[in-house]
């Protein structure tokens, strides 16, 4: 199908984009990579009257190392993350996750910020940002504000972004030398949405993991952390007994929601499968 008609503007600077957005209200859509938006326009699931193309705004671009954190601009593409040496060194979880996103032609355009702002519970970046304790830098009519990933994802496709806000960048604490990570998703075919996925990091000393962060995605309305499982694992020797306890905690603390082809029970089961594989990988 073809999209309904709309107008198109391409502001050069952030203040101009913010005032255009405030003026047009909910009738406007921001476009960055457009890899989700264009498909919804083509299918006429969305009919905005104007697209505001933000790809010329320089503050939204680039990956930079700033002291003890990485700043990832909202316009950074999945391909840039996949190929970035800074990411490989300081946020290896993201490098491992990138190839799971759709296909290269889509990764060449789709953006980090677009994925976060869309808040798809099956997407990779929301889960990774939660696991890594990311801070979202948001600009709105009242200026800049910063929100942790934990407070950012509210519900299905719903974030704490207001209609006149623009996500500018994200800050991610860089990985320490003893950080280990695991990223895996179970999908029918490469590039498909995951049936269930896990983005995990921890600090490793021998067979003991601390500072665990286990985020499951594609199992609920938002990416969700297995807090109890994390507490069970933190500071303990990882053995089969501990894995069994953590798996059972994760399965009971996360309430999985069925999708069109997979039941809640199947997802609940897969949460445990992923965590078991993840824990074995993290201590290996």
């Amino acid at each position: 199908m073809k999209a309904a008609a709309f107008d198109y503007v391409k502001p050069k600077a952030l203040p101009e984009a913010l005032s255009l957005l405030a003026e047009a209200g909910e009738d406007a859509r921001l476009i960055a990579g457009g890899q989700t938006l264009l498909a919804t326009l083509n299918m006429r699931l969305s009919e905005p009257s104007i697209l505001i193309d933000i790809t010329d705004i320089s503050e939204l671009k680039g990956i930079t190392l700033q002291g003890d954190h990485l700043r990832i601009g909202a316009l950074v593409t999945h391909t840039e993350i996949e190929d970035s040496e800074l990411i490989a060194k300081h946020a290896p979880l993201l490098k491992a996750a990138a190839p799971h996103i759709a296909h290269r032609a889509i990764r060449n355009l789709g953006t980090w910020g677009g994925s976060l702002a869309y808040g798809d519970p099956a997407a990779e970046w929301p889960a990774c940002s939660l696991t890594l304790g990311a801070i979202m830098i948001i600009h709105g009519p009242a200026g800049e504000r910063r929100i942790s990933a934990q407070d950012f994802f509210i519900d299905l496709y719903t974030t704490s972004l207001e209609p006149d806000d623009i996500l500018v960048a994200t800050e991610i604490p860089i990985a320490s030398s003893n950080q280990v990570f695991y990223f895996h998703e179970l999908a029918r075919r490469h590039g498909d949405y995951a049936v269930a996925g896990l983005a995990a990091v921890a600090k490793k000393q021998g067979n003991v993991l601390t500072d665990c962060a286990f985020t499951f995605f594609s199992v609920g309305a938002t990416p969700v952390m297995a807090i109890q499982a994390q507490e069970i694992v933190n500071g303990q020797v990882v053995n089969q007994d501990l894995i069994t306890k953590a798996v059972s905690a994760a399965r009971s603390e996360i309430e999985a929601i069925a999708d069109i082809t997979n039941s809640a029970e199947a997802k609940q089961h897969l949460i445990g499968v992923l965590l078991e594989r993840g824990l074995k990988h993290l201590v290996s």
């Binding site: 199908m1 073809k2 999209a3 309904a4 008609a5 709309f6 107008d7 198109y8 391409k10 476009i31 457009g34 890899q35 264009l38 498909a39 326009l41 083509n42 299918m43 009257s49 697209l51 193309d53 790809t55 391909t79 190839p99 759709a102 296909h103 290269r104 032609a105 889509i106 060449n108 355009l109 075919r189 490469h190 590039g191």
Partner: protein, 169 residues
């Protein structure tokens, strides 16, 4: 609101100035306005890869990109990349391996394969499969396509060219 906007871009090395409706996809613009029928229109929702073209050196989905977004960009299609010889080895290899039947996916498949060869010259067979997983082929079952791409990777690694199927006198 069918107000057209002026864009200027380069398509296959030639400058193009045109007035487009903002909602016009790049692939529709290329096919309908410029009569470049190499990029195909399959699913129009980014799933099939038949509309793959290059914008500023990277493959993209022509149905998930507006012509107006290409303002100021360099666009390349299978027509331009055939003329410049960039795809020559792959095209010969596709013929040797019979890596097409109806040909609908071929232009997209060739462009995706070319980007793989450029970016991942040491790709394994498994990585080739993963890379082209965004391009659907409903005829071949993919084996012959993977064979053809692997042949080019192997040839390039040893500094060889793919021998033309039809020798030119």
């Amino acid at each position: 609101m069918s107000l057209k906007k002026r864009i200027s871009l380069t398509v296959n090395g030639l400058p193009v100035i045109a007035d487009v409706e903002p909602r016009t996809h790049l692939v529709d613009f290329l096919r309908e306005e410029l009569h470049l029928k190499g990029p195909h229109l399959g699913c129009e929702q980014g799933a099939c890869g038949a509309c793959t073209v290059k914008v500023d050196g990277q493959i993209i989905r022509g149905c998930l990109y507006l012509a107006i977004q290409a303002d100021g960009s360099q666009v390349e299609t299978v027509e331009g990349l055939t003329k410049s010889g960039v795809l020559a080895d792959l095209q010969e290899s596709f013929m040797w391996r019979n890596a097409m039947q109806c040909g609908f996916c071929s232009s997209g498949m060739l462009l995706a394969a070319a980007e793989l060869i450029e970016n991942r010259p040491k790709a394994t067979r498994e990585e080739v499969r993963e890379w082209i997983s965004g391009n659907y082929c409903r005829c071949t079952g993919y084996h012959s396509i993977v064979d053809a791409i692997v042949d080019v990777l192997v040839a390039r690694a040893s500094g060889q060219k793919i021998k033309p199927v039809i020798a030119h006198a």
